[in-house]
Amino acid sequence: MLRQRLYTSQYSFFDKLKSIDYFLVFLILILAAISFMVMYSIDGGKIAYYTKNHFIRFSVFFVLFLFLSFVRIRFWFISSYIFYLIILAMLVMVFYFGVTASGSQRWINLYFINIQPSELMKIAIIICFARYYHRMQSADLQNFKNIFLPLVLLTIPCIFVVAQPDLGTAILIAISGIFVMWIAGLNIKYFVYTGIMLLVSTPFIISLLKPYQKLRILTFFNPERDPLGAGYQIIQSKIAIGSGGFFGKGFLKGTQSYLEFLPEKHTDFIFTLYAEEFGFIGCLFLLLIYILLIYRIVRIGFLSRSFFAKLYCFGFSAAIFAYIFVNMSMVLGIVPIVGSPLPILSYGGSSMLTIMIGFAIVMSCKIYNTDQIS
């Protein structure tokens, strides 16, 4: 039974192979290659800790991605709520038994790896909402009680994540969910009202913030306020990026990053290192890759028959865009520092796992795009 549900279908294996979006795979591999180059640079021009780990993780999760791509989209549809609940349970577990690192309690220890459930929630919420809105009629959409449930489904994990504390990821989860709601057709006016409400309650929200988060906002507006403390990262990031110039300083020659002026260069500030070494032209290239990536995902969305698949793909594309945008803006000093990894490029197991699972589902949408889900 399960087997049937999982992958038995009318297509032959060969057909499935044919319907893989190889261009998407290619783009993922290019991003991986770029990330390896950057990790190599971080390791100081040799294959050490970062390069090795990142490579292993990518390889393992890439294989996982390939396998999971053959899972029928139906399976994802059926298990979406379960998936969501499992991740939520993990979040609760983190809250009580979590592993702490760098002052926040975000991980669960699973013997040889630590998992960050908040990352997985980013995908879980998309799948969850995609299923929720799959069946819904457009008329029923605006019904208040039909909005209430998704909001609850959204808010609960966010609260747990904020409590870790991890405001950045919480915001991204919220954004992912809201995007799906938007795409599904929720009336604009709800968004407008919410937006206004948020704006009005901003002072209240700010007062709830922890001191370091308040500081982050203040230094965002004026990094020079505290150039050696809170503003340090933004200032250094801008200096590093700006000094890259048009062609960049060259592979392995990123002096700012290399000389330890830039902290967190393997995660949040990976783009800075990349920009310093490969310059404006390198950045344009990377942006292009990401744009193409998103385009492919959106295309798969259009090619899919079921709403679930469509909603999922479109939602995922918007989410990926959000991750990229938030990270790059943060690094460029446009947005306060929140701590958000760049897809595939950033070092980090949970982030990589999440993205790969996400892509796997997208690929599944592509392979089984003619499936109808009732």
């Binding site: 938007w182 700006g242 000094s243 890259g244 479109f314």
Partner: protein
Amino acid sequence: MLSQKEIRSSFSKNEIINRRVFLLAAAKIVLFGGMTYRLFNLQISDREKYLLLSDKNRLREWKTPPQRGIITDYFNNVIAENDRVFQLHVNLEEVKDFNNLIVRLKTILNLNNNNLRYIYKKVSKLKPWDTLVVSDNLTWEQFSRLNLYLHELQGAEPVLSSARNYPYDKDLVHVVGYVGEASAKDIMSNEKIQSNYVPGLKVGKSGLEKSLEGDLIGRYGIKRYEVNAYGKRISQINQVESIKGKKVTTTIDVECQQLAQNLLKGQSGSICAMDIYTGEIIAMASSPTYDPNKFTHGINIKDWNEIKNNPLKPLINKSLAGLYSPGSIIKPLVALAALEFDIIKPNMTVKCEEVIELYGQKYHCWKKKGHGFMRLRNAIKQSCDIYFYEVARLLGVDRLSILAKRYGLGSKVLGDLYIDEKIGIVPSTKWKLENLGLPWYLGETIITGIGQGYIQSTPLQLCLMTAQLANGGYKIKPQIILDDELNYEDIRSMIKLDLEKYNLSSNPKKLIELNKDILQEQNIELYKPMYRNPENVKFVLEAMFASTNELYGTSFNSRHEDEKYQFAGKTGTSQVRRITEAEREADLKISEIEYKNRDHALYVAFAPYKDPRYAISVLIEHGGSGSKVAAPIANKFIKKIIDRHKFREFKRIKVNDLA
């Protein structure tokens, strides 16, 4: 199967979704565009700015200290050099927790509480961007331990530097001076110090070290490093070498100087020696003396107090900063003046009966019962005061002052080289009116004739005066820095030729007539005659010979029989205070008089008499008697100088050949 309603609914749903996705896509494009624009801003438009900031981040410049020029004596023996030292500097900007750092350093370097107190005191005076020199002289042990723990000591910087070392320590300090840490005043007053300032820089504080600072200091070098965010040096980018300061060669002969200091040991006094033609100073000793090496790294309180509280005043360079009444030393000059101005003839006779009276004041001769009938030669030889009272009375203080000034008294001998050099006093009626607002009295004239009263001179001035008499009465320029251009042969032949012209001339009297203008002349050119009649000078020199080498001469007991060393000189005993009649009656021996009341003992001489080359002066403060105390020292010293002469000649010929 889907119902009609459902199908319709799904179409409109599709529409909605599609529309929204397009909107989203458009939004994404806009945002991506925004990002690109921002990237463009940073990487293209503002690139220069960020490049500059990135360089400012990672490049640091350090000034490396300049190498101080070395100082040598005439024979290239090094008297001031630079030793390698290990230092610890702390860059205050890079230190996160200063107290913590100091605690660490205390253990690593084995500092005691005094050291710590001193460090904190130093820091309180510094600005936050300054560099603190924790120690400018670490032992090798301390230095290596420091390097071992360096990674924990953010902001600490071990520095390889150099420190001044004086191999002859006490013996040359009054010629060369010493160095110490540059004070704010030093930096303000000297532009070269200002531009070359590195933390811990040592600058000259006295003597030649100070006056020749500009030449000695050299120029700093630059080291450019790439640093990481912790200020740790990663790699050296480039380096500009520091420039060594100029080498200074003095005219001093270390051996003669050392003997001079030895002869003065335990006393307060001075010995100077000068070449009578080139003006080169062979030795300039002053006692007591001190060790300049103690100042290089900061002198400790105990040593400083020892120096400061020594009643014989080691810090004062007696040779050029000590002012004394010349006493009988002035007599040859008085005699010369009287002869030149045609006031007296050598055969003028005066009866010395130990005392004369003038306007109710009594003026004594040193010899009890007097000298009896005296002529000029004898008066010089036996140093008769009464004779010279008469000569002075006839000459007048103003005419004497002209000649005294001409022969080197009353002005600095070495120009600006020694800031502590004194000018001395050559009194005249005008001088007294201008400086004391009082008229001149005849009584003062006559005591000036025996070198007492207002007249004050330094031992170096007396040496110069003797030199200019000994060379026949020609003006010379004293040097303590070797001048390669100066050629003894040239000067000697110039003078010889000039003297010859009197012998060669058919009418020498006429020549002498023509010299008349010289009498009032104040400024005479170098190597030109300062006399009107060369015979006058000859006479005086001959009288000095008698004073030393003939029986009854005041320095007869100190003479050299050997012609090689034979010298001619003049004793001097300079009163420090008025002697009352009662004391005269008591006629105490020197040893019975309290030290500070004893007369100073002076002696000047030139040698070898046959063909003089050197002039010397000796001063022993409170020595009591010139002939008993100063002359014997001169005897020993002159022997050394003559013995060293051949080495000096050999070196000179080499030097002159190269020039």
